[in-house]
Amino acid sequence: MTEPARESASPAKKKARAPRKAKAPARPRKVTTTLRVNGEDHEVAFLPHKTLLEVLREDLGLTGTKHGCELGECGTCTVVVDGEPMLSCLLLAVECDGREITTVEGLSTAQGPHPLQRAFADLNAAQCGYCTPGFLCASKALLDRDPSPSRDTIREELAGNLCRCTGYGKIYEAVERAAAVMRGEPVPPVPGIDPASPTGEVARGC
């Protein structure tokens, strides 16, 4: 046999009928590992078949990383691992020890949101927002590698992230705006947005 063995016809049923007390050797054992997420070490115990996405959301409570297709087909689960964008739905958490993981929660600092977050908010580059954490992480990896990407490069590098709402134009503009801010260049004001406010909100009198 050269191909992986076939799954039995109804694993779901079989699993449901299996006695609760499985034989000792078959019972999966948790692994304990230190994951470095957003600059902090977390000692965490999880089953070895869990993906990084599942461990981030379920064991570390970091629900900023979204789950979409969970098959590599949408990009919303993108995080940054050792400077590269990775799909957390197709990465085993057990393979992430010793690696530097950045999720959307790790983008902002005490000084305020990351220029990408700010630009996405200022330009309305999110509608439902479900794709946004993935776009932010993929864009962060891109800008850390290439501070002045062309529109074509941005389009190519973000080609693994789907957005079902915006039509992408605003997202590309936001990445360009954030890149300019990160290079220290002035950016045009956005009507209704207060550039001095850390969140961009315009102060209103009551």
């Binding site: 050269t2 191909e3 085993l92």
Partner: protein, 327 residues
Amino acid sequence: MMRLPVFRYLAPKSSAEAVRMLSTEGPTAAVVAGGTDLYPNMKRRQVSVRTLVSLRRLAALRGAQAGPDGAWRIGAGTSLMALERDRRLAAERPALHAAVKSISTPVLRTMGTIGGNVLLDTRCNYYDQNFEWRRAVNHCLKCTGDTCWTAPGSDRCWAVNSSDSVPVLIAMGAVARLEGPAGVREVPVESLYRDDGIAWLTKAKDELLTELVLPPPDGWRSHYGKLRRRGTFDFPVLGVATALRLDGDRVAEARIVLNGVGSAPLRAKEAEAFVVGKRVDAETAKQAGELAFKPAKPLDNTDFENAWRKKMVKVYVRDGLLAAARA
């Protein structure tokens, strides 16, 4: 959530240890490199893996080097993104570089490897579905059922070889280095495949693909053309690699390899023989396209209408020959 099934996780430190583990664990053990093909298949319960043997610690499998004669040795564990960023590969093997760059998406290429691409599972609209979908149609031949839903009258599986790198590797005469319990053997990449959607590889389950060797270019020039619906994400609905060795302005040797139209990559041998001795002009390329059209038999199990996909063989072979001659 689409969760992975429970498995035992092993991370060997050498290829010999990996082979030993695969042999001891038997047919329900699987190698994982980038996991971008295997994990979706496991999540959809298409394959059952009890033990996962990860190549993560095998640094020796990563990296690509060109020799002074222009031959290349590419470790099976090299990521597609590393190959894409390799400027020398882009300059010396533009067709392979283009094929690699056309695979999936940038983030998937960062994770996926060339070895995984060469050994990619065959694909079919009736197979690449979640468990509930497949149960609703009563499963297919490739996965526990007894009918091929693509061709219910047939007694075989017609799932399609959809790897982008494979046609170019075959057109370049690449060799695969396999390490198994009985030792190391080198086989042409072309002989890795069988025209059978279920048993599509000739490689034994406990053999590890360690390296791909590209012979020196020796005057060969090549091109890769890919047909798909979107400019990203999608597998090739048709992939055509064309390679020519010219003698003056005439073709001395030709290789034309089609993928996405059968369970194994297909050599268009009649078209290859036809162009030998000729100049590659528009008319020769067109006639070669007609000849390659005949053996291509796409079925209705990927994207697009199959009659149109077959028609596109003419166009892609014609354009590919002209592009290879110019390369």
